[in-house]
Symmetry: D2
Subunit: 257 residues, 4 copies
């Protein structure tokens, strides 16, 4: 597993690509990438008969349809453009993610993945919380009721950052104190603000991942989840570059208009 | 809609049963309750032919199978005991729930329902947070790494409650201050601890609701979500009493052993 | 329940709208239709606080945001255009459908609904099978590998219809014969061709129903499922006309290009 | 890929395990099997902090909790016994299956997997249909309305088999004839009975696979799907033996009582 499978995100977060099905190190046929090849294979089952390796393993034989790399690329493009989603469900990813609680609360609304989150009932959380960069300290948008607008003046931003930092440190001190008084972890944790970090395993297929990326790469998505989406896009692009190129062309480009 | 469709839960929360399909005021056949009747009807489609009202509306006729209330009750019991879940998916509920964020985070792990949550990006949250009752201030369990045990001594409990209250009030003051400095709502909210209240619409079918209740009524479930589960159980029992009686007998009784 | 809730489809099939949540007879606020009102209500929970009737039932009060019918219509349009799908999940339909097995096999690939199908293990199927109209007897398309093209010459079509009819009748005679020999129903049924009718209950929410309609109203969809989709569209339009108008404008019109 | 990944089922069917996540050839830690190790890892994220390899890849360090193989085995047993299902969702399988249409119709009711089926709209089906073994020709059960009972007398069984065979051959001749008349494939296919074979890709996670196996290995399941379930159980047991042993002990043994 090379370096590219892990990316730092925000001040203490990360995304780590733990596994994929098919794995990126498996043989990949014409397209050169196992994940793209799996999409093609699933799409072609509706169109022709069994993969020849299966037939051969059963003692049967078949004529191999002659295909070219260009045809496979066009097929993926066609599937994506026409919302034929089920072949993309055949490719699956497993990520480990460390992220602020308020980001986790947006993320989990994508219910089509499977999540295993660390539990603060079971073990004490470390003192790790998110504090934005100075340039991220933006004012409420004037035109969009749910977005950020212009940066605050630097001295205001700096003062606001201090407030966020102090609030989190004080909350953690209270948390620590409550635990030392003997209070159950499941109760004490309620004092921690939502900029504290949590972590989880996330399993998701390529179709649902692209839906997540479409919404979370959008200019209206909150910055703090967008940076995770960008890190994930870069990883997935290394595993399924043909699919992601079609996704960029037909979905991201359109959403950006 | 009578009083029984709304219940207060914890210090500022509630559960409100907004709607059901079939609605509890609809005619309900032999069993006397429309929701139970729908379960029976869905189960019987596998066993006999069309409901007679449909056939009649199509200008066709059929012999009505003679059934008794006792047979329908036994059928529901049989379905539940043998995990024939799909007839229970035919009954659906829509709830409005106000609940602390840390409870919402446990709840949403039941991904089979549909959630619409209030957004703190869009509007400012009011200063409403959960503070436990004095008797709920329990120590960490000695035997179970994720549970509460004995109550804290009253003076310790009282002191700990003050800490929780002060922490939340201070966080809200910071939140207020950040907003008055002009910081975007989507950023300012990160300072609020997870005992602040949120609210959502939750749509769920009876099968998945029973699964939720099984896990969240369990003695190991955290008290703060168990009280919501109990309020929901009481409402659903008024809408589908035959199904819930079978659920109590076969699922809850077994889980309690 | 008026006539419009049942429609004959093909030679022996039908669609019957059994129920909806919210039911179409419930009060519906500004928009005049309960289902559209529910979509708006779910969308607005992210934007404002609790519905005033809930607040009042809890002994609380709130300022009513002033809204107009035009604003609600625009909101639905906005949700649909921007793929904000979760408010549409709040509206749910229950259909009874009688349809040929080969149509059922396409339909069930939409896995997001819940199905309860009649079982031929449990009871003997009647002798009801689909025979196309003469004008539907079309040749294989020259340009599209999975579609129909020009009509066959009438005398060829007529001869082919005889073959289909004879094949089904002969299969049913064999089925009957096997049962009279005492063979188990679960085995005897395997001789029936896929133009025999089956029937099921189908529960689906408005979001997933629109996805079904988008694919099955498409010119590339097979005629025999398209006519069911058209019957369903007409019914749903009576229950949620504002949502369906937006769906026609943004989804169907685009898919037709 | 060894021989064990493919099994012949019925007269012309098969199951082929195409892939798994994690793949069975990956390193597997204490338990010796990558899939079981992934279940343990997902369960432990709720209990401890990050896996040490992730932490190390981020330039962080952690104390390794000391665990034994016995503890991991007990953990899997505990998860299964207490219906903690989400760790089992982390393991995923991809199968290719060839099966009679009437079996496919039962199978697809398990909607939690993802299916890609060959299309008879796109290409002509070969003449392959299921004919039971002589000993499988059983009478309708006297006690169970949906099951098979005693074997038919051999001469009756043999006669019934001839009827099934003749029916399928005649239907295929009609199919062939309709195609030669130029009828579209999407129409001609309706004459084929449900004992004809189809094939599909099936992707499913271990949790949902175990649910499928529980229902389809049950004595009440139809023989023709039970043999597929048995073939799949044998394959999955080679990939996740610790999980399957716990499944046999707690789920299958209980269902058999």
């Amino acid at each position: 597993m090379g370096d590219w499978t892990t990316a730092k995100v925000l001040d203490h977060g990360f995304v780590h690509l733990l596994d994929a099905m098919p794995h990126w190190l498996r043989p990949a046929g014409l397209l050169g990438w196992a994940a793209d090849a799996r999409v093609v294979q699933a799409a072609r089952v509706s169109m022709a008969h069994m993969p020849s390796d299966v037939l051969m393993s059963l003692g049967l034989e078949t004529e191999m349809e002659e295909r070219t790399r260009e045809q496979d690329t066009k097929l993926i493009d066609y599937l994506l453009r026409n919302a034929h989603t089920s072949p993309f469900e055949k490719v699956r990813f497993e990520f480990v993610v460390k992220l602020p609680i308020f980001v986790a609360r947006q993320w989990i609304r994508h219910r089509t993945g499977s999540f295993n989150e660390q539990s603060a009932r079971y073990s004490k959380l470390p003192c790790e919380f998110y504090v934005p960069e100075l340039t991220r300290m933006q004012a409420q948008s004037a035109s969009n009721k749910q977005a950020s607008g212009e940066p605050l003046a630097p001295e205001v931003a700096s003062y606001a950052l201090d407030l966020i930092d102090t609030n989190a440190s004080a909350a953690y001190a209270t948390y620590d104190h409550l635990l030392s008084l003997g209070l159950a972890r499941e109760l004490a944790r309620m004092v921690l603000p939502t900029n504290f970090y949590t972590q989880w395993y996330w399993t998701v297929d390529l179709h649902n991942l692209m839906h997540f990326l479409k919404l979370r790469l959008h200019a209206h998505a909150q910055y703090e989840i967008r940076v995770y989406a960008e890190a994930i896009l870069a990883m997935v692009e290394r595993v399924a570059p043909v699919s992601i190129e079609a996704f960029r062309r037909h979905v991201l480009a359109e959403a950006a208009q």
